[in-house]
């Protein structure tokens, strides 16, 4: 059962998919699993939908694992999904949120890459699609969105880890998410979870210009990080992608913001031990619990500020 699952460990794709079924079985009135499409190598892509009823209610999107080697990201997603299910009905604030909004979680956004990091190359970051005319495979799925596509901060070289791909949404994994978000039409927040280096970012990455809602996003982000830091003292920086890391085009939260999802954020989770992508499993629970405080703050803010 979900109760005996070890959230403080890293798991293979099959184990994660199987765990999703146990969560759905345990909370059938709250959690459902939807296949949103297949990956390049034909693996199913599942979202967990947390809903107390209604159709296409205002919704919050959370994805983890778009870069396959960032293992703590889906591990945090699993813990978070379980937290949402177990706290519904007990935590007043979360309960009120779920009584008016839905939460969608995509725990393995890049399933082929994730499987590849477990079997062939732990350091793999991209998708596994073939690039015609090149010996190198894969596209950086966070440079492939239709938001300043192929602009600064993305590579046109298929061998690069930041290769943007032949065209926007060329990667089926990206296209599947785009299709779901567009066909749903009522997402109010889009949160993408990466690792590592302790940042909470908002758009843009493709431009260093401030977005129209910069003051509000900055204020929400700072308040969220304050809560995150309160647990273990983990220090985060807050700002636009371009201003606190570097200009990077074709990113997911730039796309979501530009299609009208105002509350678009990206996390870079912790690495307090300086392990980078090899964050030890004993750091998963502290990472997830502190991240939850920030996530919850953002979600509550979204609930309380309809637009």
């Amino acid at each position: 059962s979900s109760r005996s699952f070890n959230f403080g460990a890293y798991h293979r794709l099959e184990t994660i998919y199987s765990w999703m079924d146990t969560l759905v079985a345990q909370y059938p009135n709250l959690v459902s699993k939807q296949e949103i499409g297949r990956s390049y190598e034909n693996r199913p892509m599942y979202v967990l939908k947390f809903s107390t009823g209604g159709n296409k209610r205002p919704a919050i999107w959370i994805d983890t694992g778009i870069h396959s080697r960032e293992w703590v990201s889906p591990a945090t997603g699993l813990w978070t999904a379980n937290k949402i299910a177990t706290d519904y009905g007990k935590d007043t604030s979360l309960t009120s949120l779920l009584n008016t909004m839905d939460i969608y979680m995509l725990l393995l956004t890049n399933p082929d890459g994730y499987a590849y990091t477990h079997s062939k190359d732990r350091m793999w970051r991209k998708t596994r699609s073939e690039n015609p005319g090149s010996r190198c495979r894969g596209v950086d799925p966070n440079r492939n969105w239709d938001a300043g596509f192929a602009g600064p901060g993305a590579s046109k070289n298929p061998c690069s880890d930041s290769y943007h791909g032949p065209s926007a949404h060329s990667e089926i994994e990206v296209k599947n998410v785009v299709n779901l978000i567009k066909s749903h039409g009522n997402f109010k927040s889009f949160i993408s979870i990466h690792a590592y280096s302790q940042l909470l970012m908002y758009p843009y990455g493709y431009s260093c210009k401030n977005v129209a809602h910069q003051p509000e996003l900055d204020s929400v982000g700072r308040a969220a990080v304050q809560k995150l830091t309160s647990l273990y003292g983990t220090q985060y920086k807050v700002g636009s992608i371009c201003k606190i890391i570097y200009q990077a085009s074709g990113g997911s939260i730039d796309w979501s913001y530009d299609v009208g999802i105002k509350y678009s954020f990206a996390f870079e989770l912790r690495d307090t031990g300086r392990y980078g992508f090899i964050l030890p499993a004993n750091q998963i629970l502290p990472t997830a619990t502190e991240t939850w405080l920030a996530l919850k703050h953002i979600m509550e803010y979204v609930r309380d500020h309809p637009y």
Binding site: D121, I278, A281
Partner: protein
Amino acid sequence: ERVFIGDQVIRVNAETEEQIQLLQALEMQEEGELDFWLHPVSTELPVDIRVPRSSFSFVTEYLNAHNIPYSVLINNLQELLDEEKAEMMQNEMKER
């Protein structure tokens, strides 16, 4: 499976804009097969580079020649990956 025996991850704390540019030039070179975990963008942010064992002397000579300070974060990446794998297997056994 690809193995990372002897691969190191180094952290470079660039102190000047010129050093950032030198690191960016290093990143453009393909022969070292360097894997930049954190890219050189500003003196305020560290730069983490996974350096294959075969490229270690080339990289350290480059950094030393330009007086760019660095420290070793991970001495042998494969050791950490072996620990990670062993821990995963242990957990899988327990769950079964």
